[in-house]
Assembly symmetry: C2
């Protein structure tokens, strides 16, 4: 069985990176280059993500910079540019050290109030020069105040044009929250997912970009659970059926409970769910009821009796290869 | 069978109310009093909520002002004070015209940046003088920018003290969204629910107020679907088990699809789900697959084969009487 995890984060980076970030925020001009050795990278992964991958039978993971620390709201745009390059270089190095285990996905140098077109250069660098296969797109660079335009605004279109041209999908992924109302992984993440879904539903985004592809992580936020609500809204507004979204939109399977996972797959269908763990992310603690970490998501999928082997394979492998054509080429 | 709907809104108010609102926002001093006759109120309800109640076998509904138009972000605090009194008076009149069908629940005169203690006077007026049994509390009076403190901040405590003293629960309910990122009923509502849940989970609010009661509407936002995620967060932070929240927290059953409803009841348990429709709200359109409106939520509950008659009765009736003691007294 091939199992591709579309949602891995390099959250175990050596501490030098955090120190570098702090210094960068204090004085960008004098920060210089981040110095981390290959051995440090190996060590940070071998007893962590790689060990868990082996133990769970996960063949390969899309690997992107840690999401919270993307913190697009901190500092100026030049800070975000330098930070994105630094973090992307690190996941790239991880992927060259462990090419069988990781394929890199990039963060973007977003900054509140700054046009997303400014991210194109870094996206091209990552995809064309370093073999990245996707990007993480933050729908709220303000970190919880939602002051930039929604995803269907033309503000974002130049970036989408480039994504389409390069054939890279975006995972919609907020960064950390600086709004005390929003717990990062418990509220801001999930709200970001729900909000992005609704922005896609209420707009003509996919009419303008018929080949644009988005992955909404964390099981699509609240969307699958409230599928009837979204159908009701679409019916009332006389929009096209919400299932049409599923031509451009996939949900990842970062849902850490059996009922939620089953609801997700039943609702979105096996064609639109991508296996994912968020490792290392929100689900790293051990569930005292099972003795396994919450993010051991193969266990929920494997426990579904009504899921055919064919559908399981879609979720574990073939959907990911379809959504990420550059991943398919890389793994050939 | 007695069926109590804990989530009804007076959304069919005569148009005079909307005109009055516009005038109030233009010039509060000259607005005078809203003039709507008893006959207008009767007419606005008889062919609408009351007809649907009869057809669906709903015995009684908690009835509060329309949520979107609470619009606490519009105008100044005095505007919100006048508007809350006006809207509360209208649901009160509806409840006196149809006492067997409606019990009133009030909106609060919240205003961004204004301390919630300023809502106490209106809450007392409604509860002590007019027999209201609950209130709707907006966790984000800014209408989608989330600029006020979270629900666990002491900012809110004076209001909670009064709620406890009066024995009235609050339904956590945002108003409309003025943030173009958030579709009102599709994103802002659900995000408000998810956010409120997480604020309760991450805080010691219910240690400070062991008898405070909240209802999170719309099936608890994303919370039940992501129950494992919240358990993971609580385990990692070594908080108490999230199930402890269910001593102070109930979810309403405004979930408009079968799988979601079943997940909700399985996850929260029959003791913590309150039957609800949101009438008239998001679910008023007809599902072409069933020919019924999406918010005909008895059909989802009645279709659950594994739900015992006893549990059904809890959801339909007895939980509501337990959560709203003043409703129990009123219906005696």
């Amino acid at each position: 069985v091939t199992i591709i995890d579309v949602h891995g984060h390099y959250t175990t980076v050596p501490n030098e990176q955090r120190i570098y970030r702090r210094r960068m925020l204090e004085d960008l001009d004098s920060v210089g280059e981040l110095k981390i050795t290959d051995d440090q990278i190996r060590e940070s992964l071998e007893k962590a993500q790689l060990k868990d991958q082996r133990e769970r039978g996960i063949t390969h993971a899309l690997f992107s910079p840690a999401a919270g620390p993307m913190a697009h709201h901190e500092g100026t745009e030049p800070v975000s540019q330098t930070w994105a390059r630094t973090c992307n270089d690190l996941v790239y190095r991880a992927s060259t050290l462990f090419p069988d285990s990781f394929t890199p996905v990039c963060m973007l140098p977003q900054s509140p109030g700054v046009k997303p077109a400014n991210c194109i250069e870094e996206l091209e660098r990552c995809v064309n020069q370093m073999g990245f296969v996707g990007c993480n797109l933050n729908p709220d660079p303000s970190g919880g105040y939602w002051t930039d335009p929604p995803l269907h605004d033309r503000w974002w279109y130049p970036l989408y044009e480039k994504m389409v041209e390069l054939e890279v999908p975006a995972m919609i992924h907020v960064a950390g929250s600086c709004n005390p109302n929003f717990h990062g992984t418990g509220a801001h993440y999930i709200n970001g997912d729900t909000t992005a879904f609704m922005q896609m539903l209420e707009s003509k985004l996919f009419e303008d970009f018929p080949t644009l592809k988005f992955v909404i992580p964390h099981g699509g936020g609240a969307a699958p659970y409230h599928w009837g609500r979204y159908r009701a809204i679409a019916e009332r507004a006389q929009w096209r059926p919400i299932e049409d979204l599923l031509q451009n939109l996939w949900f990842d399977g970062c849902v850490y409970n059996q009922l939620g996972m089953e609801l997700l797959i039943r609702t979105a269908g096996a064609d639109n769910v991508l296996f994912a763990t968020e490792m290392y992310g929100t689900g790293q603690s051990v569930d005292p009821r099972t003795g396994r970490t919450f993010d051991d998501t193969t266990t929920y999928i494997d426990a579904i009796e009504w899921l055919s082997e064919e559908d399981k394979r879609k979720i574990y492998e073939t959907n990911a290869l379809k959504v990420y054509p550059r991943l398919a080429k890389r793994l050939e």
